[in-house]
Symmetry: C2
Subunit: 146 residues, 2 copies
């Protein structure tokens, strides 16, 4: 499962993506709209800022905005930034690899072999999907039965 941190990050980025090019949006606005605890969201946006994804502006009229075009930010990138696990097994993770401590022989493990496949399928989808795509999907869903 994704952590709430990852979920909140994605939702916040969707909000910011819709506003790309406009004036900064305040944390509290996003928190209220998306039902995210404000203090928690502060930390998350700060992380995204320190990772170079967001710019921030302090003081009155301040807030956050996207640095890059939402079409150039992939979902998988956000999972990794927020520490969300993509792989279902530690020994299969590309970015957070860890040996399974019970494992007798990783190289010949059939279980691992399947979960490599699962990881590849997941990474494919999530790296081909951008924040802009999330916004588009939302629009499509709204027009189809919103």
């Amino acid at each position: 499962m994704l952590s709430k941190k990852t979920r909140y990050a994605l939702k916040a980025l969707v909000v910011l993506g819709k506003n790309f090019g406009g004036t900064p949006i305040q944390i509290s606005k996003i928190a209220t709209e998306e039902h995210i605890p404000k203090k928690f969201l502060e930390q998350i946006l700060l992380d995204l800022r320190n990772a170079g994804l967001l710019f921030s502006k302090k003081g009155s009229g301040g807030g956050y905005g996207l640095v890059k075009d939402p079409a150039d930010i992939s979902v998988v990138q956000i999972l990794r930034l927020t520490g969300g696990p993509v792989a279902l097994l530690p020994c299969v993770s590309l970015n957070f690899y860890q040996k399974c401590d019970e494992c007798v022989n990783e190289a010949t493990c059939g279980v691992r072999d399947v979960f490599v496949e699962v990881r590849d399928a997941t990474v494919k989808i999530l790296s081909e999907t951008s924040i802009a795509d999330l916004i588009q999907r939302e629009k499509n869903l709204i027009s189809s039965f919103g």
Copy 2:
């Protein structure tokens, strides 16, 4: 990430699958071979037995064995039995659905929409893979560089 319970279950089933049709295997043997804490493994195998996947025999010469052919047991089934999450979001899970408490409108959520796709891809792979396939994969890996 899969829980250790799920991982241990899969590894134990591979051992039992190799032995399908033979005499029962003791918990302690599996625990030793696969580096799984014995007491923990006891609980797991008991669950699998209560789910009808394994039979058990008490007393001297006792142990566990598979009830069904390993080719008829899918990996996804084991994940579900051992409570492992297949979906990456609770609102996307087929068997353990839960509303995301922050979610404003699930039906039009773009984030959810992508993770439905990820879930489908994952379920496809894991439902097409059986315990027998895991064993076969292991053999293939051994012959290719074991």
